[in-house]
């Protein structure tokens, strides 16, 4: 991505998000069955997609590449960390929007629905990842252990997914696609829905880039501190 593209990422994400909200709230018609509640369709699936697939997928790929000796670099560790942090934020929104949808639909804020439950478990995985990073001050140890944890979480994705689905499911069937992979919604609704996926995916990359830059700045500061502390250590007076 060139410099112009990088600079345009934030404003473009904002424009697309505002467009999605405007289309979703003012232009698209209410659903025949669910009424205005169906407007959550323009937020919830896209946010869940970003949280569970895009962000977490990015973190998992970066972690796997970090563990591979030939591709290991500090940048990959930063990407994994940043993506996981963004993932936790999007999982929180997924759970909140899921609950808002669930209250009038199921009559409770929280139902033991398969996808909601597995999202919550992934949310705890995300928090665990951040806790693990905080527990390690040593840079290399932190990076290695976090990468291993991320890989373990990736392995758990299908296990948790199927275990919870087999356990019980209440979730409404697929909202976006039918079983033969054709779109369920049409016209302005379909356009807004697809726009929401693009908008939230771009927002993820915007957040990721911003978070990554903060990490780079922090590391630079840490490096300067380290150089100073090495110098200070070297000048410690020998005991007489």
């Amino acid at each position: 991505m060139n410099e112009l593209g990088r600079r345009a990422l934030g404003p473009l994400s904002l424009i697309l998000l505002v467009s999605t909200f405007w289309l979703g709230y003012f232009v698209t018609p209410p659903d025949q069955v669910q009424g205005d509640l169906a407007r959550l369709l323009y937020i919830h699936p896209a946010v869940a997609w970003v949280a569970l697939y895009v962000s977490f997928g990015t973190a998992a790929i970066a972690s796997a590449m970090y563990l591979w000796p030939r591709t290991r670099s500090e940048s990959l560790d930063r990407i994994a960390h940043s993506a996981m942090e963004v993932s936790v934020f999007f999982i929180a929104i997924t759970l909140i929007t899921g609950s808002i949808w669930g209250r009038p639909t199921w009559g409770v804020w929280w139902a033991w629905d398969a996808r909601l439950t597995s999202s919550a478990i992934f949310g705890v995985f995300g928090l665990g990842y951040l806790a693990l990073r905080r527990a390690n001050e040593d840079r290399e140890i932190r990076a290695r252990r976090s990468a291993v944890f991320c890989i373990l979480t990736a392995i758990n994705v299908p296990i948790i997914h199927f275990s919870v689905i087999w356990w019980k499911t209440l979730h409404q069937g697929a909202s976006v696609f039918t079983s033969n992979r054709t779109l369920k919604v049409h016209g302005s609704m379909a356009f807004t829905l697809l726009l929401s996926f693009v908008a939230f995916t771009l927002t993820f990359f915007w957040f990721l880039r911003t978070r990554y830059r903060i990490e780079v700045a922090k590391d630079r500061q840490g490096h300067q501190k380290l150089v100073a502390s090495i110098e200070q250590r070297r000048n410690e007076v020998p005991a007489t």
Binding site: L67, I121, F122, V124, F125, L127, G128, A131, L132, A135, N136, D138, E140, I141, R144, R145, A147, V148, F149, I151, L152, T153, I155, N156, I159, I160, F162, S163, V164, W166, W167
Partner: protein
């Protein structure tokens, strides 16, 4: 790898036999937790037996956390760590050995808890015996996963509090599969899917442990 695994497993079991942490600390905790579960369900005996398999697994999971911490603590003192490190043991063998020892310890603890489940929570005794293979498999999967998560949190001041945060989400599907399989045997229901999930978990955790345990040990 197998030689190192056998060596490490024997050593861990011998240390457990000496220290009796399982017998004097973990098991009393487990039995008390089971009693508390019974008390929390109220005086009506009807609900207890149906909740029995689930409560059994909750207590097994809690005991697993204690045992995992114990298993890692054996290796964690500075002197032990340094002297063992210079032996250059194969990390895959260390993983399998520690997981095997933990599995044996957890099997013993589960046997006591199962007796408690039958006695206190009134789950059918004969059917519980039939459920033993699935219980053994889920406890083995818990031990394999626990050994990995234990290594992730080892040698840290906050390991006691960090381990549950990291391990419990991973234990969730094992708990579901184990509980469903136990309930299916006792009360009827689909058993095959839960067995397949347990077998997949056993294979996945063994493979990842063999491949990645060295990365955690090294750090």
């Amino acid at each position: 790898m197998i030689h190192v695994a056998a060596l490490v497993a024997r050593k861990d079991l011998r240390i457990e036999l000496r220290s009796r942490v399982l017998a004097w600390q973990v098991l009393p905790f487990g039995v008390m937790a089971l009693l508390l579960c019974g008390l929390a369900l109220g005086p009506n005996p009807a609900g207890r037996s149906h909740a029995g398999p689930g409560l059994f697994y909750i207590v097994v999971t809690l005991m697993a956390l204690l045992m995992i911490n114990r298993s890692q603590a054996i290796e964690s003192s500075r002197g032990t760590k340094d002297s063992v490190a210079t032996l250059g043991l194969d990390p895959a063998g260390v993983f399998l050995g520690k997981a095997a020892a933990l599995t044996v310890e957890m099997w013993l603890a589960s046997a006591v808890l199962l007796t408690g489940t039958v006695l206190f929570l009134h789950v059918d005794q004969a059917r519980t015996l039939v459920a033993i293979p699935s219980i053994a498999a889920s406890v083995a999967a818990l031990s394999l996963a626990g050994t990995l998560y234990g290594a992730l949190t080892s040698s840290q001041n906050s390991s006691l509090t960090l381990l549950p945060v990291l391990a419990l989400p991973a234990f969730a599907p094992l708990l579901i599969a184990g509980e469903r399989a136990y309930s299916a045997v006792v009360y009827g229901g689909e058993l095959k899917v839960w067995w397949s999930l347990l077998v997949i978990s056993l294979i996945a955790y063994s493979s990842v442990g063999v491949l990645l345990y060295g990365v955690m040990e090294e750090s």
